[in-house]
């Protein structure tokens, strides 16, 4: 009977109920969509960091990452690469020579990271070839080719086929330099990365650096993110004299970005839920005040306070339940469409790129996140109903019946 009264009561003031149902729908839609937007943005950032920059796991000499000194190279590095490649859970693996140095042109110079790469392996690992916007990938027949970013090429006023000088410290601490011809220009979504990374063939740089056939970084891409912990553990065990780090350990600022993103989502969710809570409190309070006489009559007739409380709570719940399907449908449709088309923020691409984000966002949402939003909406709704319900409990039947 309580359910019957509560469900029928919500249609007594049709307009008001429709407003609160609309508020719940829009609140839910906004909450789900916003979380999907941030989730998509962060997921894209992580994916791009893993596939374009860091890979899942990197192996170095334990001292290498402290100062990026090339004397800390991986002895037997190429053998290690071959051993790792045999693991069926590994999608791609490549050895690199990483040098900190300078790139110079007639127009200026810039501090950079020189990535001496194995072209074929790197193609699978980071799809560098796919990021080329001008020119061609490394030609196996040619030497001293360099691929640099569009950003750097503009900064140094360099173009395809032009020569540039790379300067760095060799194994003995002497300055070494070499002239490289620009074979291609690449572009990723990460501005700072583009600003500071150039690619040359490992065979062109290792002898210049005085470390022929050596490597000081092994990057590993896994077939599945879920295998990360297991593979990392396995590699640590297999190569105890090396440092085996996963992408979160290599780039803690990325972890920070994720946590800041999460905080942002929760702040926005908090604002949406607060607005929803105010809407519900206002509506239910009006419903209680309008029905003071009726609630007084129910108390007089013998409906106890718990049942009155439950009646108000149930009314709120029904309003929420009525609003949820519309909100969920709206959210699924809008996420479905934008997942295909993406949300284009090209006008702000500079700003997005400077933080390493793509300017086209593809929202995505996990079932767990969806569940969390639903739960938060329900908790907010029920929590908001407590205040009007408490107000109803404070009514004095004799006084209420006079109204």
């Amino acid at each position: 009977m309580l359910t019957k009264i509560a469900s029928r009561n919500i249609w007594r003031s049709r307009k008001r109920s429709l407003i609160i149902i609309a508020a719940v729908s829009i609140g839910l839609w906004a909450g789900i969509f916003m979380m999907a937007f941030y989730n998509g943005m962060i997921e894209q950032r992580i994916n791009s960091a893993i596939t374009d920059e860091l890979s899942h796991i990197q192996v170095h000499h334990p001292e290498f990452r402290k100062e990026y000194d090339i004397k800390y190279r991986l002895s037997e590095g190429r053998k290690v690469v071959e051993t790792i490649r045999k693991d069926s859970k590994i999608k791609a693996v490549a050895g690199r020579v990483i040098l900190k140095g300078m790139i110079a042109s007639a127009s200026g110079s810039s501090g950079i990271t020189i990535n001496g790469i194995m072209p074929e392996a790197e193609q699978v690992l980071t799809n560098l070839n796919g990021k080329i916007i001008k020119g061609n990938y490394f030609n196996p027949q040619k030497t001293n080719e360099i691929i640099l970013s569009e950003k750097l090429s503009k900064k140094l006023k360099l173009n395809l086929n032009k020569k540039t000088i790379l300067t760095f410290q060799d194994i003995d601490g002497n300055l070494a330099s070499g002239a490289f011809r620009i074979t291609a220009i690449y572009k990723t979504v990460n501005g700072p990365y583009d600003d500071s990374n150039v690619f040359v063939k490992i065979t062109d740089i290792d002898s210049l650096a005085g470390i022929p056939n050596a490597i000081n970084e092994i990057a590993i891409l896994l077939k599945s993110n879920a295998e990360l912990e297991e593979i990392q553990k396995k590699l640590k065990h297999k190569f105890p004299k090396t440092e085996v780090k996963n992408w979160m350990e290599i780039s803690p600022e990325l972890g920070l970005t994720i946590s800041v993103g999460d905080q942002m989502v929760f702040i926005f969710m908090g604002i949406i839920l607060l607005a929803l809570a105010f809407g519900i409190v206002n509506t239910m309070m009006m419903a209680v005040l309008e029905r003071t006489r009726e609630i007084g009559m129910l108390l007089a007739l013998g409906m106890n306070k718990f049942k009155i409380f439950m009646m108000i709570l149930l009314e709120t719940l029904f309003l929420i339940v009525a609003g949820c399907p519309v909100g969920i449908l709206l959210a699924f449709v809008s996420i479905g469409i934008t997942q295909l088309t993406g949300i284009d923020f090209s006008n702000f691409s500079e700003a997005y790129s400077s933080f390493g984000y793509s300017s086209i966002i593809y929202p995505s949402l996990t079932a767990r996140q969806f569940g969390i939003i639903m739960l938060l909406v329900f908790i907010t709704a029920l929590f908001s109903a407590l205040f009007p319900a408490r107000r109803a409990l404070k009514l004095n039947p004799a006084e209420s019946l006079k109204k």
């Binding site: 009561n9 013998g302 106890n304 004799a398």
Partner: protein, 240 residues
């Protein structure tokens, strides 16, 4: 000797109007026995509704106490008092106060469901009452689809449904036309005579006062008269 249902002792309700006490009810003693058909009359502000609210456990006296069938209801608190009202007192209000979203049948059965009576018993009692008040054809009508008189009859049936000790009716005919008021009074008198149901009314309505077997007159919160009305006395004299 008749069984006492309502026993009010030294009842006062005092409102402090900026330290000058105002007596809504002033040391009222009242005993009502089972089967009485009692009207409480008096001018506006004489304390009729206050007295009814005290007897019904809707208001707390400043002094004195009320016993219903030997239970001091003034000592009951919160849900204990609400439960007592549910099981012992039937209310009929001036403006019907039916639950607008429920049908006539649901309004009556609602109270019995609160008492956790079985569905079968509830169904049987509700149909019986609807027949008694002559509204068996309006079973699925909501209050807004019923006339004032019909709504008040449903309210009486609702008050009777849980088989209370007595029914308190606060100006039950005030919003009714004369035909509806007469019909309602006939119905309540019939219930009083056939089921020995105790009725206590507060009223201004002379028709109610004329039908009452006992009339209590309140003035300034005090009982100034407690008699049978002239019409009843005349009838009794005629019988003799």
């Amino acid at each position: 000797m008749k069984e006492t249902v309502i026993d009010a002792h030294n009842l006062s309700k005092i409102y402090d109007e900026k330290t000058i006490p105002v007596y809504a009810l002033n040391k009222v003693h009242l005993h009502i026995s089972r089967g009485e058909f009692t009207a409480i009359k008096g001018p506006s502000g004489s304390g009729k509704t206050t007295l009814l609210n005290m007897i019904g456990g809707l208001d707390i006296p400043s002094e004195g106490f009320v016993e219903i069938n030997g239970t001091n209801i003034t000592e009951l608190k919160g849900n204990e008092l609400i439960d007592f009202r549910l099981n012992n007192i039937g209310f009929v209000f001036q403006s019907y106060n039916l639950i607008p979203v429920l049908t006539a049948k649901e309004n009556i059965e609602f109270i019995m469901l609160l008492q956790k009576r079985s569905k079968q018993e509830t169904e049987q009692r509700v149909l019986e009452l609807l027949k008694e008040i002559g509204l068996e054809d309006k079973i699925n009508k909501r209050p807004r689809e019923l006339s004032g008189g019909q709504q008040q009859r449903v309210a009486v049936a609702r008050a009777l449904a849980p088989k209370p000790q007595f029914i308190l009716a606060d100006e039950p005919t005030a919003n009714l036309d004369s035909v509806s008021a007469e019909n309602l009074l006939d119905m309540m008198l019939k219930l009083n005579q056939e089921e020995n149901m105790t009725f206590v009314f507060s009223t201004h309505d002379q028709r109610v006062i004329n039908r009452a077997r006992r009339v209590i007159t309140l003035e300034d919160g005090k009982i100034v008269a407690d008699t049978a009305p002239t019409s009843i006395i005349h009838k009794q004299i005629a019988k003799i």
